[in-house]
């Protein structure tokens, strides 16, 4: 046997969707995490309810790399339909656990096989007829545990975590795992180098959460009281989680009264309309959607921008154009969201790069929306939103809400009713508003998407229009300086830098380690919001070459960065693009950089 490989491997379970395999995969994930080993799961699933191929990739590294790896060490082949294709993905020397009856014609000779009669075992060993199909997946958990040395105690923990309040479900699942584990012990001897061993120092204080759950919790902490949404993959779980949290935390325990309104709208047009109506009336309001919904919301978002109504819009990006690949990830809505709607429009766009930021930015988005009285986009993606990520526990908010410039009845009395809804009193482009229901004769004003002057009166006047548009630009400029600043790491002192944003962060972190190990370190600027910070140009000016890494075909942020640079810096910027719908692996960054940066000095 070759040298052991400990805690550094990628398991890929190839199954059929709708068969219960996701539960088995999660049990395995939680069991390994319970051993103190960092995990990075990626679920690759079809846009389908039942019967199509699905893959669950569970990457384990001692360093805690969170990006997808495109190398499979251990294949669990459970789907006859993709068996031959799946077999090709395994790296030489890898392990293949497969259903015994699968054809072994043309199989590879450079991998270790553990054939298991899963179907037979399920039939003979699992007594529960109704759950047999689901429990069959647990058998492979047991086999994998046997191969890798996952202790039963960790598996039990995983099962309990998955079925937290159902002791009977825990029992039948643990029994099914034991069926697989026993079969492994009775029939195989270890022939491969992979092992998992408990470790410390990497997962303490961390939890496994997906970005949509984190965003829902963030929105709740941000004080959302009206949410309107229309189901769409991969964003549905944002509002579904919000509903679940609201039942626990936003229901009056005495009266049972709901303290939040969450509406499943008839479509995205209505969803954003409700959110804007609520934002106008003074609520902290949100909607969540994905690319196709963003297209539908374009008109209303222009109204929100021009009439200056606070609203938070979550875009959990998926692959477009059109219906695209609904269950694959992408960052191709960035430029569209940034300029959404006709006319001169530009929006605040938050770019969370981690699950922790999904939580924090979701919370703070409501402050930005209120502070700047404008739609705020939270641009997450399917990878960040729907996969579990190892993340530090979230912090409870330590500051009060910023409701922005709202005039109360007392304020209006002090002003003797002298105010103008769109008058730039403070010179920062941000004006004062009143909320409907404010009991003062001067409180009311007319909100409209047509031309208006400082006092919200209808006008088609050329000067008034231009003055207002200039003020809106000034307002965004004010916001630009107050949004989450880029995170800059220039500790390598290298002349090469990388700019990235969103979930690409995980791949950049890993790529930087690999590049540094190869003697080609790179500095890093991680964007966290649009419009771009001045830090971007400063970063480029301090580096000879800067690579903008992003998950879209056209280099949307690459373009934005170049537009923001003085002309003599433009040529320093290069573009790395990954857009096949799978989360970007570190190799997508290291490979081009190793090539282009290999030129001798």
């Amino acid at each position: 046997m070759t040298q052991q490989i400990i805690n550094d491997l990628t398991i890929q379970a190839a199954t059929v969707n709708g068969s219960g395999s996701q539960t088995a995969n999660l049990v395995l994930t939680r069991a390994i995490f319970h051993m103190g080993i960092p995990v990075a799961p990626k679920n690759v699933f079809p846009s389908n309810i039942e019967g199509l191929p699905t893959w669950y990739q569970l990457r384990v590294t001692p360093e805690g790399h969170m990006a997808r790896s495109d190398k499979v060490d251990i294949l669990v082949a459970f789907n006859p339909g993709t068996w031959h294709q799946d077999l090709k993905t395994v790296r030489p020397g890898g392990v293949v656990i497969h259903e015994e009856v699968f054809s072994t014609a043309d199989v590879r000779s450079d991998v270790t096989y553990y054939p298991v009669p899963f179907a037979k075992l399920a039939k003979s060993k699992i007594q529960n007829d109704t759950l047999r199909k689901q429990l069959a997946n647990m058998i492979y958990v047991g086999v994998v545990a046997g191969v890798l040395g996952i202790p039963l105690e960790a598996l039990e923990h995983g099962v309990k975590r998955q079925f937290n309040s159902k002791p009977k479900a825990v029992q039948v699942n643990v029994e099914a795992i034991k069926v697989g584990h026993d079969y492994w012990q009775d029939n195989f001897s270890k022939k491969d180098p992979y092992r998992l061993e408990p470790m410390t120092g990497k997962v303490e204080g961390k939890v496994l959460v997906d970005g949509n759950q984190a965003a829902a919790l963030g929105a709740l902490m941000g004080g959302v009281t009206v949410a309107a949404w229309y189901p769409i993959t991969p964003s549905s779980s944002v509002c579904e989680n919000l509903i679940a949290y609201s039942e626990r935390f936003r229901t009056d325990p005495k009266t049972g009264e709901k303290l939040i309104s969450i509406v499943q709208a008839e479509d995205e047009l209505a969803a954003v309309g409700m959110a804007i109506g609520a934002g106008w009336a003074g609520a902290r309001a949100m909607t969540s959607t994905s690319g196709p919904g963003i297209s539908l919301m374009a008109e209303f978002v222009g109204l929100g921008y021009y009439a200056e109504v606070p609203v938070v819009i979550f875009d959990i990006q998926r692959i477009g154009p059109s219906t695209g690949l609904p269950t694959r990830t992408s960052h191709a809505d960035v430029a569209f969201a940034f300029n959404l709607s006709h006319g001169d429009t530009r929006h605040i766009v938050l770019l969370p790069g981690t699950v922790e930021e999904c939580y924090e930015f979701a919370r703070d988005a409501f402050d930005y929306a209120d502070r700047f009285q404008t739609p705020v986009f939270m641009l997450s993606d399917l990878d960040l939103g729907m996969n579990l990520w190892m993340t530090p526990e979230f912090k409870y908010p330590d500051k009060p809400f910023d409701r922005g410039k709202v005039l109360s009845k007392a304020d209006l009395e002090r002003l003797a009713g002298e105010w103008g809804r769109y008058r730039d009193v403070d010179g920062d482009g941000v004006t004062y508003r009143t909320l409907p229901g404010t009991d003062h004769p001067a409180a009311g004003y007319f909100t409209r998407g047509s031309g208006h002057d400082e006092f919200a009166r209808y006008t088609e006047g050329a000067e008034a229009y231009q003055r207002n548009m200039d003020r809106l630009a000034r307002k965004l400029e004010t916001a630009r300086h107050l949004l989450p600043a880029p995170v800059v790491d220039e500790s390598t002192g290298a002349s090469t830098g990388v700019i990235a944003f969103g979930s690409t962060h995980a791949a950049v972190v890993e790529a930087r380690e690999a590049l540094a190990a190869a003697g080609k370190p790179v500095d890093y600027l991680r964007l966290r919001a649009l419009p771009l910070s001045d830090e971007v140009a400063a970063f480029v000016s301090r580096h000879e070459r800067v690579y903008v890494v992003e998950q879209n075909r056209d280099g949307q942020v690459f373009d934005l960065v170049r537009l923001a640079l003085p002309s003599m810096l433009v040529d320093r910027v290069r573009s790395i693009r990954h857009y096949n719908g799978q989360p970007i692996p570190a190799a997508a960054i290291t490979e081009p950089l190793m090539q282009t940066e290999a030129v001798p000095a």
Partner: protein
């Protein structure tokens, strides 16, 4: 002479808005006046009123009444969603939506139906003239089959009847009236506002510029000739019955719902 004040202490003028920019004689202006009268007589506090609208001539009108109230002129056909959201944000607001036939019966049809389905607490007035006035006279979806455009084109499609549609969805308040019939419109507006839930009020409102000719079924003369009042409408606000029980020979001061007092003496 000082102006007569309503029961919240406001004169009728407090319910006026900016000067109308619609055509002289437009039915919508009549409806605006009916609205002012109804709101004044109901004693609606302006700060509790939210005037909502979509896009079109009708949707401009919220600027022309109750200037002190908040108003929101949104996007075409999407007033129901704005209204739903605002109503959820603040249940104390009295939501009053003004839309048109173009705004309601075409792009807005989906939101119109879903607002009724949810029974959002609001008044939804359709200022219905069967034509697109702002874009100079195209047919709207409420134009009757066979009715004639100003330039002579004949409508070949069945109309969508917003009232019939609302009724099929079980809307709990549906009425149709005519902008020229203030006696009917004013109490209907009052009743619609008093109604808890979605109240649909389809008011035929002739467009004097583009749809007031022979062959139109939404012209003044046609509507006047064909208006059939199916009910004598008046609005009696709902109040809890006042019960008084006192001994013979005693005097009892009773406060009525409008704030006035009646002094009763029971004879022995």
């Amino acid at each position: 002479m000082s102006a007569t004040l309503n029961h919240v202490g406001l004169p009728r003028d407090a319910y006026k808005g900016a000067a109308t920019t619609l055509c002289a004689g437009c039915g919508h202006n009549s409806i605006t006046n009916h609205m002012i009268k109804a709101l004044y007589e109901l004693g609606i506090e302006p700060h509790r009123l939210a005037k909502m609208s979509g896009i079109g001539c009708s949707s401009k009108t919220p600027a022309y009444f109750v200037e002190a109230a908040h108003g929101f002129n949104g996007v075409h056909g999407r007033m129901p969603s704005l209204t739903t959201g605002a109503q959820l944000a603040n249940r104390q607001l009295i939501m009053l939506g003004v839309s048109g036939d173009g705004d309601t019966a075409s792009i807005g049809l989906g939101q119109f139906l879903h607002m009724i389905r949810r029974n959002v607490d609001c008044t939804y007035i359709i200022e219905d003239n069967g034509t697109y006035g702002l874009t100079k006279g195209q047919f709207s979806a409420t134009a009757d089959l066979g009715s004639v455009q100003k330039k002579g084109a004949v409508n070949t499609f069945q109309p969508i009847d917003p009232c019939a549609v609302a009724l099929t969805l079980g809307c709990s308040f549906v009425a149709r009236s005519f902008s020229g019939d203030g006696k009917q419109v004013v109490p209907l507006i009052k009743a619609a506002i008093a109604h808890r839930g979605t109240a649909i009020l389809d008011i035929i409102s002739p467009c004097v510029t583009f749809n007031d000719h022979d062959g139109s079924t939404k012209s003044y003369s046609w509507v006047k000739d064909h208006e059939e009042s199916i009910a004598d409408v008046s609005f009696i606000p709902f109040f809890e019955e006042v019960h008084v029980d006192y001994e013979p020979g005693t005097i009892r001061d009773v406060e009525l719902h409008d704030g006035s007092h009646i002094v009763l003496k029971k004879l022995g």
